[in-house]
Amino acid sequence: MPTLFARPAALSFSHGARSLLIAAGLTLGLGLFLAAPAVANTVEEASQSLKAGDHAKALDQINRFLSDKPKDAQGRFLKGLILTGLNKPNDAIAVFRKLAEDYPDLPEPYNNLAVIYAQQKQYEKAKEALEQAIRTHPAYATAHENLGDIYSRLASQAYGKALQIDGSNASAQTKLAMINDLVGAPAKVGAGKTASPAHPTVQPPKPVVVAAAPVTAEPAKPTAPPVITKPEPVKPADPVKPEPVKPATKPADATAEIAAAIDGWLSAWSRKDVKTYLAAYAKDFQTPNGQARKAWEAERSQRVGKPGKIEVSRDKFSIKAEGDDKVVVRFRQHYKSANLNTSSGKTLVLVKRDGKWLIQQERVG
């Protein structure tokens, strides 16, 4: 029943000092707005204006559209985005919250509510909203990632209170992603208000991390004094081997080599070739949050290897050399799966080891 509209491209915009990463994707019509093309175009126009950075115009257009179709989910969602862009977080919250009430099965309004709450440092509210998003869509990747970020912020706050340190510094970098398009999981989203309650088979929210930590501590025997035996701190996989000195590569060659390395990595990712995917990373790869290499590998194996067709691709990249054997590469990465279609900036730091370009750092943005 639902109609699919393909969105042409990813949107991206930033909000004030804190830049948000934008996830974009396929738009799923809700069956509610099987609108006439002219009306759909008005949403489209507002969306184009937003993309062009003309928020005032976008707001005007969407308001006009909504005066005709006040219930339209897509239009209201876009209005929430526009208000966010206009730095009117409270108005945006009101829009997204009402939308979430009217369409409790849609995870996107919850996600975006959470992003705005997080900007206002209302992490508890952000957490609740994201948990709500995940309750309806347990596999909703963006919400999971955002929730992970919120959890670490809340944790930092708690640690700050525990240790009298400034917890806000601990996670200064934000990686909350705002959803820019209303993405429904096909065949799951019902038609708005009349939608059935959240899927009964929904799994409980899962922790984001699904890897084993190499823990060695054993519980003490009951008679032993209660001394905590500290397990050894987790060590990075292997020390970095000294690199043999090599003649400098010519720039042109290097670019081709780097392109090949990145494309090999993306293609391994797309075809779920976990081994090749992991082999693209240097031994001293800086895992996110300083995670143990093994834990990180386990997590990536699990995620990359997850069944379901995906496609990861890139746009043109820029290279900045940081020495003969080290470059910083930036590009736009597109990720497409059955129910998620995102596009985000990616930064890789590649190092040349034994003639191969390997990923030493991977950052979103």
Binding site: L163, A212, P222, P231
Partner: protein, 400 residues
């Protein structure tokens, strides 16, 4: 089950805490009113052990709500949240990067609190130090520095009855104070000397302070010095301090100090500080008490007998008084006694407290009513009794 495996890592500390403590749990039903954060804290760790993370977090949030400045609870909350984003292998790990020492302190506090909670003293045992409280001593305070715990006892016709116990912090460098500035808490038998109200104190001391009489007569004899050992409260920005935090004082949470203060009599309430309380069954306690009371009475009647040898056998070989050794002192007493037809001695309001330190003696105080054919006086007497060759003997005595 990889998912579970991370979590084992998360709070292995919790497991270890539990593992060591759980055995005492079923000894008997709860006997005393639970106060303070321990019951909830223990529940949080139980949930963590059983991997009920969400419940654990919820309970931790209640804990934080009830005790907003309870840093330990915030640390656990941090862990429970952080564990949702990445594996943790140690208690407090997420905060270690920032403040490793403080995490270690809070870990110590967690251990101390849970251990004390799990091992509340059985009602059939008493600290062996409280041999005899004076009738006017309504309560006695016994501190265990190793367990970071203060126990309040009520004087129930001479038998100490447990009332409450509280988490405490003591000297940064432990117990057994010897000299000024050694950041240690003294060990011995003291009493509360005065009270300093909150208004006269910096915030650091919290809701009030109760100085104790360190160094006491015995400490001075041993060459111990230093001063300003107090029981006091906690700064307003924290609910409690780590187990080893003070310069020698005994530090309580403000609410606990306030509760304790109601039971402290200035100049009267004994404060006995031990680094590891020895507990006696009530039977053993009674036996020790009776034998010493009997011996004190024997000493009294032997003094009345005017038989110098009977009297002198109550004094230890190492006894000394005013620079005289035992022999010289006995000779002098003999001379004094020669001029008397009779002596009558009464001892009232006896208190007997065993010293918890390495110096194994019992400090006995009483009102002495001395009458004789040619001299009478009343005084507050203090004696230090030791076991010498299996018999109670007096090592030192003076008037206070």
């Amino acid at each position: 089950m990889k998912l579970l495996k991370i979590r084992t890592g998360l709070l292995c500390a919790a497991l270890i805490l539990q593992g060591t403590l759980v055995f005492a749990k079923d000894a008997s039903a709860p006997r005393y009113t639970d106060s303070g954060p321990e019951p909830l804290l223990a529940r949080v760790f139980e949930h963590i052990e059983q991997q009920r993370w969400d419940v654990a977090l919820k309970e931790t949030e209640s804990l934080v709500k009830a005790y907003p400045n309870f840093r330990l609870a915030h640390l656990i909350k941090g862990d429970l949240l952080m564990a949702r984003t990445r594996p943790l292998s140690r208690f407090g790990e997420g905060g270690e990067k920032e403040a490793k020492d403080q995490v270690a302190d809070l870990r110590e506090e967690a251990i101390a609190r849970l251990r004390a909670y799990r091992n509340k003293p059985d009602e059939k045992v008493v600290p062996r130090y409280l041999l005899q409280m004076r009738p006017d001593q309504k309560h006695a305070v016994v501190v265990d520095t190793q367990k970071a715990r203060l126990y309040l006892y009520q004087n129930d016709n001479g038998t100490p009855r447990f009332v409450a116990d509280y988490y405490i912090a003591h000297g940064k460098l432990g117990a057994d104070k010897f000299k000024e500035g050694d950041k240690k808490t003294p060990i011995g038998v003291y009493h509360v000397t005065s009270s300093i109200p909150r208004q006269k104190l910096p915030d650091f001391y919290g809701s009030g302070a109760f100085p104790i009489n360190y160094p006491n007569a015995w400490d001075k004899k041993q060459g111990r010095n230093g001063s300003g050992i107090w029981l006091h409260g906690t700064p307003s920005d924290t609910f409690s301090r780590p187990p080893k935090a003070s310069d020698g004082c005994v530090v309580l949470a403000n609410t606990d100090l306030d509760a304790l203060a109601k039971n402290l009599q200035l100049g009267t309430t004994p404060v006995i500080i031990s680094n590891n309380i020895e507990w006696l069954s009530l039977d053993d306690w009674q036996a020790e008490r009776t034998s010493l009371i009997g011996m004190i009475d024997e000493w009294r009647s032997d003094w009345e007998s005017l038989d110098i040898n009977r009297y002198a056998r109550h004094y230890a070989k190492e006894f000394s008084s005013d620079g005289k050794d035992l022999a010289a002192w006995v000779a002098q007493k003999k001379k004094v006694n020669a001029g008397k037809q009779w002596i009558k001695v009464k001892t009232d309001n006896i208190s007997m407290f065993r010293n918890p330190g390495r110096d194994d003696y019992v400090v006995v105080t009483f009102e002495q009513d001395y009458q004789s054919s040619n001299l009478s006086n009343r005084m507050q007497k203090r004696q230090y009794w030791i076991k010498d060759g299996g018999r109670w003997k007096i090592l030192f005595e003076d008037a206070v």
